[in-house]
């Protein structure tokens, strides 16, 4: 009664992925396939020092002998690694001055709502824009430089700050860590690098925006954030890709290092192309994210995952230092034929370490949404505490929600709490809203936003608004 066929159809039209356009730009793309020569080629294109090439080659050697993991609760045709191109860069990359940037590229940034023009930037957000395999432009570098903050593309960091990159890269996610991490370590093309010096509170949000444009290209970027003693930084990451029929691969690495007393807040709004409603196309998002906390340090991961055909991602914290804190706040939405296997690992090594996990899964359509988490309290981690809350919300009767919590406690003083709920959006709740004059679509938005509130509240303001809209778009038309 509340819905007519026409309404439903209209909504499904509206629900189409807004960022599905492609940018018509000449690119320098290397032939498909992967071997040692390709690794060397990427390295030489980036004019890298020998140590960087050695790192890549070592990783490649490791990767060759590894097999793709199959334990995740996802099901997809195998990625044909020899049919992908591992490097694509917009041509005519010269000086990175705003005036010199290709107008097509500027138009793309506009459409994505990325403000690079520092004069026009509304809010104090510094952005590094990564397009296919390279970073196009980083804003506010000078202003940050005055505080000793380094915020640049990964390639620039390799050239200009080799000592820092060498010291920290791969210390949290080693090349041998897993299949995708090894692949990334061999062929990564660009990404962001950030260093906050001792005692500095970064005055603005730092942000990286990832965009995959080219067809049949893998995007392999790495992000390395080092927060020196008693510093603070809030980092944002956003991502989109064109709507393509083929699947595209995104295998990234993010490493966070929080030294004594430092705090890193890392927020992601992941909106990769999820494929169409029949499950055709979409991004395979296989990402390794991990951070280490030294004494009294804190790392907080917040993620809103609405995109990708398949997501395989477990932002984790190694709580090495005493009194360190790890947090993970996640909203993962899957609709149509999307699949997500996501969660976190909290490794407690230090004394009095604390971790909090709040995971909110929302499944609609024919999708599958899994939470997979590990809380590990090691022998010396006395008085460690963990609180996990893991909620699933189901919409419709064709979708699935799964939870795989693992808890390993090797210290008897540990306190671990785990709460889990699974609920359906109640007909009762919707009818209650209807009876107050709120239509079903708006009612669902209200209910879902209420359900995710604890996580959305953790996002920086502008991001929270964007995330809220994204939730609405992702779930439009999912209850008829």
């Amino acid at each position: 009664m509340a819905y007519t066929e026409d309404d439903l159809e209209k909504e499904l039209e509206n629900q189409e992925y807004k960022y599905g356009f492609t940018t018509d730009i000449e690119s320098d793309k290397i032939p498909v396939g992967i071997n040692e020569d390709v690794v060397r080629l990427i390295s030489s294109k980036k004019n890298e020092p020998q140590w960087m090439l050695d790192y890549r080659l070592k990783a490649f050697a490791v990767w060759k002998d590894m097999v793709e993991p199959e334990w995740a609760h996802v099901n997809y045709p195998k990625v044909k690694f020899q049919e992908l191109s591992y490097y694509s860069a917009p041509k005519a990359q010269g000086e990175k001055k705003w005036e010199d940037i290709d107008p097509e590229m500027k138009a793309t940034m506009d459409k994505l709502g990325i403000s690079m023009d520092e004069q026009k930037a509304l809010s104090g957000v510094a952005v590094d824009f990564v397009f296919d395999s390279v970073s196009v432009k980083t804003s506010f570098q000078d202003k940050l430089g005055d505080l000793g903050i380094i915020f640049c593309s990964f390639s620039e960091a390799v050239q200009n700050h080799p000592e820092l990159v060498k010291k920290y890269m791969g210390t949290i996610v080693p090349t041998t860590d897993n299949f995708y991490a090894a692949l990334n370590s061999a062929v990564f093309s660009d990404g962001s690098f950030c260093y906050i010096p001792k005692g500095v509170r970064c005055p603005m949000e730092l942000s990286t925006y990832f965009r995959i444009n080219e067809a049949n290209t893998g995007q392999f970027e790495r992000t390395l954030v080092v927060a020196d003693e008693d510093s603070y930084v809030s980092y944002l990451e956003g991502c989109t890709a064109p709507a393509r029929d083929e699947n595209q691969l995104h295998a990234a690495i993010v490493e966070l290092i929080a030294m004594d007393g430092a705090e890193i807040k890392y927020s992601t709004v992941q909106n990769w192309y999820p494929g169409d409603e029949d499950g055709k196309g979409g991004i395979y998002n296989f990402v390794t994210k991990r951070g280490i906390c030294h004494n009294n340090a804190k790392i907080s991961w917040t993620q809103v995952e609405t995109g990708s055909a398949v997501t395989w991602k477990y932002p984790s914290c190694i709580l090495k230092g005493d009194n360190s804190i790890g947090e993970f706040y996640s909203v993962a939405v899957t609709n149509n034929h999307q699949q997500a296997d996501t969660g976190t690992k909290m490794i407690h090594l230090g004394k009095n370490t604390k971790s909090t996990i709040i995971s909110k899964g929302i499944s609609a359509g024919y999708s599958n949404n899994s939470y997979r988490g590990l809380v590990q309290i090691n022998k010396n981690a006395s008085n460690a505490r963990n609180f996990t809350q893991c909620d699933s919300l189901l919409m419709g009767d064709q979708c699935g929600a799964h939870t795989f919590p693992y808890i390993e406690a090797k210290n008897s003083t540990a306190k671990i709490e785990h709460e889990a709920t699974t609920s359906k959006i109640g007909e009762d709740q919707i009818f209650y809203c209807n009876q107050r004059g709120i239509n079903t679509e708006k009612a669902i938005n209200l209910i879902v936003n209420g359900y995710c509130k604890e996580v959305l509240n953790k996002l920086p303001m502008e991001f929270a608004v964007e995330a809220q809209k994204l939730l609405e778009i992702s779930l439009e038309g999912s209850v008829g």
Binding site: A2, F431, C433, N434, Q435, R436, G437, I438, L446
Partner: protein
């Protein structure tokens, strides 16, 4: 205002309402009483537009419109309000946000400007006082962690905010202690006017001491079998329903 003619409704092919006739005019208070399972809650759900119920026969005219033809949210926006027997919890959605959405939906429907924050907060203050609702409850999640009494008071608070033409109170007295009952009833009485009407569904005469009805109807086995004035309610209180059942079955 409301004219129900020969209304039949069923759920999962089981007929519950078997030909209801009822006329409610502006300014009137009607009480509907009846034993368990007689169809009282079904009637309120059918009027509000709950989808599980299928109307198989009859018509309902509400202020000149075919009520049964309207979506539930449009019935609400036309001025029909149901105070739920079991108010629903909506975690994470504040009462304020919920009501603001509802009021602005209604305003949009009637082509009015949305309420300004000042206007809205003024209303909240005024109306929450009507039912002695703690202002803290207004900022808490809808009904979450509310006591039974608070939930019922919150229903009347929402009713006050939405200013409906016709309010149906579905066993609003159930689960209320005597003080809460008085507060809720006072709220309802204060909202009464020449232009609106109230239908009170209840098991007990007790509520009718506070909300005095103009008419009392007895619903039994899906039909209104007896109508009268408030004295009928007193008689039911004294004698129970058996004599009515006997009359009907005779």
């Amino acid at each position: 205002m409301l004219s129900i003619k020969n209304l039949h409704a069923s759920i999962q092919d089981k007929e519950i309402l078997k030909g209801i006739n009822l006329e409610v005019k502006a300014g009137e208070v009607h009480a509907i009483m009846g034993p368990n399972g007689s169809g009282k809650s079904t009637l309120s759900n059918v009027l509000a537009g709950r989808e599980e119920y299928e109307v198989t026969e009859g018509s309902v005219d509400f202020e000149g419109a075919d009520l049964l033809d309207l979506a539930p949210e449009d019935r609400a926006k036309e001025g029909l309000f149901l105070a739920f027997q079991y108010p629903v919890e909506i975690p994470g959605v504040s009462n304020i946000n919920f009501l603001k959405t509802a009021i602005n939906e209604k305003r949009e429907y009637h082509k009015q400007e949305p309420a300004t924050a000042k206007e809205f907060l003024g209303m909240v203050k005024e109306k929450s006082a009507l039912v002695e609702l703690d202002s803290k409850l207004a900022s808490r999640s809808v009904n979450e962690g509310f006591s039974g009494g608070e939930k019922k008071r919150n229903e009347i608070f929402q009713m006050a905010m939405l200013e409906p033409k016709l309010s149906i109170l579905d066993e609003t007295d159930s689960g209320l202690d005597i003080d809460a009952l008085r507060i809720v009833a006072n709220g309802v009485n204060k909202l009464k006017s020449e232009n609106n009407a109230t239908v009170v569904i209840t098991h007990y005469q007790r509520l009718l001491d506070y909300i005095v009805p103009d008419f009392v109807h007895v619903l039994y086995n899906g039909k209104i079998v007896k109508s009268g004035t408030k004295e009928l309610a007193l008689e039911l209180e004294e004698k129970g329903y058996d004599w009515i059942k006997e009359e009907v079955n005779a």
